[in-house]
Amino acid sequence: MDKALKTNEQATVEVKPLKVKKRKAKSLEKQKSTFGWLFILPFLLGFFLIYLPMIVSSIQISFSTIAYEDIGQVLTWCKPLFTNYSNALLKEADFTKTLVECLGGMAFDIPAIIIFSLFMAILLNQDMKGRAAFRAIFFVPVIVSTGIIESIDLQNTLAQLGDQVSNLNGDGVEGAVNTGTEIINAIDVERFFGSMKIGSELAGIVSGWANNVYNIVNRSGVQMLIFLAALQSISPSIYESCKVEGATGWETFWKITFPMISPMILVNLVYTIIDSFTTKSNVMMSFITTASNEANGKPLGTAMAWLYFLIVILILAICTAFASLFVFYQRREK
């Protein structure tokens, strides 16, 4: 009897906190959502107080002309509202040309970067001697090759161009010292092929390819890191069972590795498109920079930048939509 009473008591005791819990659970959810707002508050503040006004005023600049008066810059709306845009598209002869050139370059570069980084990530993921050393070397570009080296190279090429213009008759006194970032000089290639009587154009093409390799290696560091992380997260037991079933390495790659990392291919595609369209060394970006650095060129440059941004968004949307057809998700979101 005593025991039964006790259990009864326990039961009643247990019921009470359950009721309280239920009420608490509701408020906890609300509480958690407010905490969610609290956690993303810094970003929200920044976005709506700083970023959005900047975007708005940038759009405003692109639709207006700037006059300089005592108090600073004064914006007035253009008379036909789209003057800057139509100027960029119709009057600037080089804008569309540079744009097409830039897009053509990207059409080759982006797939090359993704395939290369995937391949290298698979290599670096294998067991071998000196893997740590190779990894350390391969990720140097991630750390190092942003702004500053690019701007130094830019200064160097500018100086060289200036030099070429100022003494056109200077016949190669400059010596053999290879000072730029170029892995292979056209001169080297010409020397190498000299005995074969190969024209300078072909030498130029070969050295262009070699330096493009350097360019691609330099730009695929982050992508390699992302792929490496994805490869590490595939459970080894899948590979084991594959081996037991007698699949070759080739089959394993296409049936297991590729589908498993396909979400990361999408991520990398997006990242590569964004990154390569917005780096400083991009032809279009430097074109816009020079355009907006000219006198009274700010509205025009901003208009160009917005046009360029729209095109990038369009390309991004098309590529993402196309790639996501082939993406395989192991588990769906809740």
Binding site: F39, P53, L123, M128, V144, V177, I226, A230
Partner: protein, 370 residues
Amino acid sequence: MSFTEKLKGLFTKKKKPEKIVTGNAKIDTETSLWERIKAKYFNMFFVKKLGWVIFRLVLLIGISYVIIYPYFSKITTSLMAREDFVDTTVLMIPRNWTLDTYKAIINDNKYFTALFNTTTLSLLCGVSQTLVCAIVGYGFAKFKFKFKGILFLLVIFTMVVPHETIRQAMILRFRYLDLIGIIPQLNGWIFNMFDGGTISPETYEKFTDFIGLIPNALNTYWPMAILSLTGLAFKNGLYIFMMRQYYRGVPDELEEAAYVDGAGVIKTFVRIILPMSTAMMVTIFMFSFSWQWTDTFYTDLFMPASGGNILLNNIVSIPKSLDTEYAGQMAYETAIRNGCGILILIPLLIMYLFGQRTLIEGVERSGITG
């Protein structure tokens, strides 16, 4: 063990431990060494494997060469004396070694001041960006609230917009910075509406006095600090994305256990989640630190060289004490600029050497696949 004994030990082969002879092992001894070698190495499997290993090694070494070569050539050319640039027999290795270039850069271009300033700025930005992105990423990963999807799209949006698009607007914004942020923008619009696009100077001054503007935020650390603290600085969208993916991989049970034990949300975050994600945060700190270190866009924008606040990317110029008027002037000046670049990168590379293992581990463990 003495040294000579050690030396002897190197040259004399160690005896293999004797095999325990059992029934099966007899067959092993009967097959000759040649047979065994043949069985081991002369089959398709081994040849294929060997071929693959050699191919892999050649490829990896080749690409490592491609990566290292520019730095190598920059270092060697910056160690050359002036005469070497007109000597056609000098290709890579200097004939007259000299450190004059580096001495001149360090003395004339105020290298150490710039180093100190950049270190301060990068540390400031790195630490604040890492923390802010961790907080925001956690918010996006673990809480349910309205408009979450749209707000996260805004994060992606900040990544996609090229800097060039908002460059002018950013200058305007931080030229007259105030703490409330949006008000000068608003009064600009209002004046535009009423005055037909022109603002009379007196009313503008009244307004600015009223709001209490910091007169000019350029050439201070304020713009960078504000951008970092709000997760808008260089590539912060990527960091938020990475942190979110990482926290999504953390099981909910961990936090639930903490809540049951009586910890609040913030306490759970500070005491459990943050210490847990150290590897990922080190990765992001290294990204933000080094990308701030080598950044030229924001620093040129907010702290131009004329501003007196010298940063590392302002030291890239030809030192006055070096006489470059010479036959190989262009090559020499290029080498000097490259020397500046090397001086800028050396502290970063040293940091990378110590941190690279953590960096790679952090990314591996991030479980970005989500």
